[in-house]
Symmetry: C2
Subunit: 381 residues, 2 copies
């Protein structure tokens, strides 16, 4: 039977059935037992995104935790293909990654793929993708990572240090093997065909397990890494997978930079946020106030509620009350939207402040921080 | 009609008809007029390899000379995929390149592709190809290039400075376009697919014409460069093509590192040289001394004569006399071989001395010379 959703690294279509996806992708569900184990290790509450199963699936997270408990440790790796403006959906994995770094006090590597973005898109210049890299780095730094345990690097700058390990990786991957995963064909340019080696390289920055927090659509990339890592003397990359923050326009697919009405950008001012949520945020409410009061709304398909649930209302009692009131009809769609608008604007205002402060920190994260200095001295072989 | 020779960058088969090859490849013959022009510009005799048409074909050499005369200048580029031991055939283009550098006083870039060699051969380690890189660099330096106008660089070391221009090149070349030229298929690894970008990059180290002296079998590589160079704001690479120094074993094909009896290695001692020439050097002489005295030998197929003609006996009167005497039968095969053995051993003895001295010069050519220092400061965009 044809399935009504499809998830690949370059497209998410339809209403995703995440339980089915776990089976399809062959990943592991993050069980209550695993969550309890994390709680006991960090001796603290779980992050809202873990509590509410936004991060819901994994590969080898159990082994990562075991290594941590055994004193072997692990490290975190994430990245970004720079773009003109980041939206809320882009920030989610970084926020969760920061939480992991705080709780486990581990090194974090953030790869900025200015080369990939340039090579992938015929219309972009390298100057453009580097400018976006700078802008995106400000947004990433604003998340609040530990400056002495975080190294942010751009491929075109850090390539010399990564190149030896990258060519060892490249030698293990044929065109046939990367073609399907990366959506390539024989008319693809030879740079974008090479790029997977650079995406994999940071998983081998340390001889410890690497944990990658990312949307589950990214999983296929790391399967390639897992096929070859051990033959190079490194660990298979572990992953912790998130669901997609739904686009404003409805519960299907994921936010897209090419459709501005589907997303809230980090640069959107309060008026814009209000206008977008009011106009576009897909509602689970009834067509009229009367009907809504009578039948209530459906929070399961209401994007405003989903955004609050997945991240913006971390208080479990409050989100429970919002859900009940919306379902009963006591809370109207307009009121629900107002709650989200306020949360979003508070978040964005704070983000903008931190983004300003980040300008002074770029050199720390890229060159002068403790980990950064160590990494510039190191050639990864 | 099936043709009895075949020339590709990875195989030379049969007795090459060089005039036919010029037509096939669409290159230009180096005419007497062009040779006269070079003579008048450098105000000196031509190198023996130019005089005797070892370098016999070109692309845009006329434009290079015009640019030189107009004061725009040009630069030289050559390279080497490091191997365990270089043979005489490997040294020929370097010797000619040195002559060009001396006469025109221009910059020369020598790329050592430790990455390519590693990625191309399943059995090689990166440590091996780097060790060979060091050894080959000694042989190259021994040729006597100008240390302040020559930059020798290894891909794995210089990659950061080349990467931006390399990804711009890579973006212009599809897998389909490089596949045939580089002998790739979908089972090739993604590193070796990427490598053509790095081979082309040095042709864009300066905004002047680049002249590449190389065996004509390398021409297909540079056709790719010529297709895209102008769209990136650079010149189409000019080339000056040589014939192949025949393998010892006969006038067909070219010397092969995998068949040691076909070649004289730069490390072969005098006894080895004598033994190899006596045993393997294909002879154009008659089966017995009596028949040889009567009918004479054929220098056109005699490898010892060809080696003397192409490089080891630069004196035009002497080579003429050797040819006449051999053809008449006055000179026996053994005597002809002795002439070559002496020339070869003199050459190799001097080379070994210079190779010893080269050990002190590696850092100059790679890092500290005038051009090297300039190149390490430069990021090629």
């Amino acid at each position: 039977m044809a399935q009504d959703f499809n998830v690949t690294p370059w497209e998410v279509k339809g209403k995703v059935d995440y339980d089915k996806l776990i089976v399809q992708f062959g990943t592991q569900k993050i069980t209550s037992e695993l969550k309890e184990k994390i709680k006991s290790i960090i001796n603290d509450e779980l992050h809202v995104m873990l509590r509410r199963d936004v991060f819901f699936s994994h590969r080898d997270l159990d082994l990562v935790l075991k290594d941590y408990q055994d004193g072997k440790g692990f490290f975190l790796y994430t990245g970004r293909a720079p773009s003109l403006g980041m939206h809320i959906g882009h920030l989610i994995p970084f926020i969760f990654t920061k939480w992991l770094q705080d709780k486990f006090n581990v090194n974090l590597y953030i790869e900025i793929t200015d080369d990939e973005k340039f090579m992938r898109n015929p219309e972009y210049t390298l100057d453009q993708t580097r400018q976006w890299a700078y802008d995106n780095i400000l947004d990433i730094i604003a998340v609040g990572f530990n400056p002495d345990k975080t190294f942010i690097f751009q491929d075109t700058e850090y390539i010399r240090n990564m190149y030896p390990i990258a060519i060892k990786i490249a030698k293990k991957l044929t065109f046939s093997e990367v073609r399907a995963t990366f959506g390539l064909d024989t008319s693809s340019n030879i740079g974008i065909i090479w790029y997977p080696a650079l995406q994999i390289a940071p998983t081998m920055f340390e001889k410890r397990r690497c944990l990658i927090p990312a949307g589950i659509d990214q999983d296929p990339y790391w399967r390639l890494q897992r096929d070859i890592a051990e033959s190079l003397g490194y660990y298979k990359a572990a992953q912790i997978h998130s669901k997609f923050l739904p686009p404003l326009t409805g519960p299907e697919g994921k936010m897209s930079s090419s459709q501005p009405e589907t997303a809230i950008y980090l640069t959107d001012d309060p008026k814009t946020v209000e206008r977008k949520i009011m106009k576009y945020a897909f509602s689970g409410g009834q067509p009229t106030i009367e009907l809504h009061r009578k039948y209530g709304g459906n929070p399961d398909i209401d994007v405003s509620f989903q955004w609050l649930y997945m991240f913006f209302e971390p208080d479990d009692n409050k989100i429970k009350k919002i859900e009940e009131d919306y379902r009963s009809g006591a809370l109207l769609t307009g009121e629900l939207k107002q709650i989200l608008i306020e949360k979003l604007n508070d978040f964005l205002e704070e983000h903008r402040q931190k983004r300003e402060e980040a300008k002074k920190l770029v050199n720390v994260f890229k060159y002068d921080g403790e980990l950064a200095r160590e990494m510039w001295r190191k050639i990864h072989e």
